[in-house]
């Protein structure tokens, strides 16, 4: 069980790096979507017996992270009719190297933090921290609004991964509320992207610079 889980978490970490290395927006969106779907499967592996709430959480996560949000992002991409190049502030190789360094750092951090025996051999904690940091890098090292949204999505994915540590202890009410809230957050971001496009005819956040000292 834990072998399969670690494999999937490793794959998810790989998709963070794929997103960092992609030069085209559709492939960044795809990487984030695949990562979201992998995360959706994880709760099923984590639970020994099939509880309907866990299944519902898994289906909800896969639908939202894997299909709804990516299709919203693609729609924004089409509506904006923008150039699909990513335009990094920080080059692909440096961001990839940073992402790799973050992954190593996360693994190192996870060995420092004490873990419960059942989590000791799992990649959940390093995977979560690595995904959060990669999301951060994507968020700040890219100029286009859509890639920033993808970065935010990966940040969320990392946090979700960490939340799996607590899936048995926190009431599912909180879990469901969290899922809903994060979804709406990205939804609203999508709408704003749409608005920004209408106002500026571009999704380049470097143009958002009239408010400054």
């Amino acid at each position: 069980m834990s072998g399969a889980m670690n494999l999937l978490i490793g794959l998810a970490m790989g998709f963070s790096l794929v997103a960092l290395a992609s030069s085209r927006l559709p492939s960044v969106i795809r990487a984030a979507a695949f990562q979201g779907m992998i995360l959706g499967v994880l709760p099923l592996l984590l639970e020994a017996k099939f509880h309907w709430l866990v299944v519902a959480v898994a289906i909800g996560t896969i639908t939202v992270k894997g299909f709804v949000i990516p299709s919203l992002l693609r729609r924004a991409l089409r509506a904006a009719n923008i150039d699909r190049e990513v335009e990094p502030l920080l080059g692909f190789v440096p961001s990839l190297l940073l992402g790799a360094a973050a992954t190593v750092g996360a693994a190192a951090l996870a060995t420092v933090l004490p873990l419960r025996p059942e989590h000791a051999r799992s990649l959940l904690v390093p995977g979560a921290f690595a995904t959060v940091v990669c999301g951060f890098i994507l968020l700040i090292a890219r100029t286009k609004a859509i890639s920033q949204v993808c970065g935010y999505l990966m940040l969320e994915n990392g946090i979700y991964l960490f939340g799996l540590l607590l899936i048995n202890s926190t009431p599912l009410l909180v879990e469901a509320g969290i899922l809903l809230d994060l979804t709406v957050a990205v939804f609203v971001i999508g709408i704003i992207v749409d608005r920004i496009q209408r106002e500026f005819d571009t999704l380049d956040t470097r143009k958002l610079n009239s408010l400054r000292e």
Binding site: V112, L113, P114, L115, R116, V132, F136, L139, A145, Q148, Y152, L155, E156, G158, I159, F162, G163, L165, L166, N168, S169, T170, P171, V174, G177, I178, D181, L182, V184, A185, V188, I189, I192, R195, I196, E199, F200, T205, L208, S210, L211, E213
Partner: protein, 481 residues
């Protein structure tokens, strides 16, 4: 029961306002809901209920110490809102009114939340519902402000969720059941695993510190306050930031109970003083009088953090300061909104002589300047005095020196800008010289009321409020001598 009404009533009013057909009559939902909400909050202030141990939310001492203020702030802003939305009748107000009512409902939930998870959900929802409010003017600059608010605020709120999870894991690893209820976490005390506890504190302080607007996570604030309508700025500066401050106090209570009080005090003091220094520096240079209010808010959030870091008397003073700062800022934001409408611009390059063009609002703005920079007998003077006294009691002369220095520079910087726009030959961006703006009582009385409240808190803060602050400060453990 009434504590539930505080949350449910505005949400129901929001649903009704959303369905209401009349564009001109819809704004009246704001003062109606605000009035009942304030009456309920003050009734609870006078008759505090007993909290069930396993309640998800409730009117506990900390909520009692601040929620009536948020309620009062909303009520006065909502009175302003009726006149404001009449002046801006070219804009549809359905979303604006609904979002405002949802916001006060969610703030009531967040302030009363007894569970870290529930607190987070309310804080996240508050962030989302603020976006259409910032967006009200629909200009390119308003879009930019909303985008930055959502990106920075969203990242902050994501970090605070990660921090909440870390705290849950600290409990789980320490032999608890991962319950995120504050009473359970405090009861677990020192058995929370230390490395996870520290990680959680760092993430939660960064996350809720972003919402509160502590430097260096304050970057959304000048943009948002600069572009939002005045009443939204007032609610953000007095309501949302108060929610984040209360969240930090509640987490601090847990971390202190686990025996890491030294760390929380050092970090809060560092963030607080750093915020004050950053704000003072920007106040010396900014030319935009609405962004100036944002930096002033950063400064006052720093003051709150310093107060919270001092423990005991400092927390008491910080809770006092939550009231005085929010109500004084209300006067400033509402009068700044009036000035912005009268002048059509908001920088000292384009605007001057507003004392002639909008005489009453300009006078309120100047009085508000003196009130917020702690001139006696306004409330801010007394609350800041208490915080300085607390630094002396703790023999922290370094903090006292930086604190007083920043207050001086902030006064200098704000005074410079306020008199630059108020004095001089009348000059605006949008109107021919010589035209005066009619100032309706509906947009003049609410900021005057705020000034009156600020004076009242300074001269005669009622014993009931003092008792509420004492009870809340006693809930947080005192620092080791």
């Amino acid at each position: 029961m009434i504590s539930l009404l505080l949350i449910a009533l505005p949400l129901l009013a929001a649903a009704a306002a959303f369905a209401w057909p009349g564009e001109r009559t819809r704004p009246w939902f704001l003062p109606a809901a605000g009035g009942v909400h304030t009456a309920l909050a003050f009734w609870l202030l006078a008759n505090p209920p007993v909290l069930a141990r396993d309640a998800w939310f409730g009117f506990d001492p900390l909520a009692r110490a601040v929620l009536p203020m948020v309620s009062l702030l909303f009520l006065v802003c909502s009175i302003y809102g009726v006149s404001y939305l009449r002046l801006r009748s070219e804009r549809k107000n359905r979303v604006f009114v609904t979002a405002l009512l949802v916001m006060i409902g969610l703030l009531s939930l967040a302030l009363q939340a007894q569970n870290l998870g529930l607190l987070w959900v309310a804080a996240e929802a508050t962030t989302l519902v603020t976006v259409p409010l910032l967006h009200f003017n629909r200009t390119a600059r308003a879009f930019e402000a909303s985008w930055k608010y959502l990106l920075v605020g969203g990242t902050g709120i994501a970090l605070s969720l990660l921090g909440s999870f870390c705290l849950g894991y600290a409990s789980l690893h320490g032999g608890g059941n991962g319950d995120l209820a504050f009473t359970a976490l405090v009861a677990q005390g020192a058995s929370l695993t230390r490395p996870w506890l520290i990680t959680a504190w760092v993430l939660l302080l960064a996350g809720y510190g972003t919402k509160m607007g502590l430097a260096p996570m304050h970057t959304w604030k000048p943009d948002a306050y600069g572009e939002a309508p005045g009443m939204v700025g007032a609610l953000l500066a007095g309501g949302t930031t108060t929610m984040a401050f209360v969240a930090i106090l509640r987490v601090k209570q847990v971390v202190d109970a686990a025996g890491a009080g030294d760390m929380t005090e050092r970090t809060l003091l560092a963030f607080g003083l750093f915020s004050m220094v950053v704000a003072a520096l920007f106040l010396l240079t900014t030319k935009d009088y609405k962004r100036m209010l944002a930096y002033s808010s950063v400064e006052h959030m720093g003051i709150l953090a310093v107060g919270a870091a001092l423990g005991g008397a400092g927390v008491w003073a910080a809770l006092f300061h939550v009231w005085t700062n929010a109500l004084t800022k209300g006067a400033l934001f509402l009068s700044a909104g009036n000035l912005r409408r009268a002048a059509g611009a908001q920088t000292s390059d384009l605007v001057s002589g507003l004392a002639w063009r909008a005489p009453v609002s300009a006078r309120i703005f100047v009085a508000g300047l003196f009130a917020v920079t702690a001139c006696p007998p306004f409330g801010v003077f007394f609350s800041e005095l208490k915080i300085i006294l607390a630094t002396f009691q703790m023999d922290n002369f370094f903090a006292a020196t930086v604190f007083l220095g920043c207050l001086f520079f902030a006064f200098f910087g704000m005074g410079r800008l306020v008199f630059a726009i108020v004095d001089g030959r009348p000059r605006t961006a949008n109107r021919p010289p010589g035209e005066r703006i009619p100032e309706q009582p509906g947009v003049i009385l609410p900021p005057l009321l705020f000034l009156g409240l600020s004076l009242w808190l300074g001269l005669a803060a009622p014993a009931l409020l003092r008792a509420a602050w004492t009870a809340a400060a006693a809930q947080l453990p005192l620092p080791p001598p």
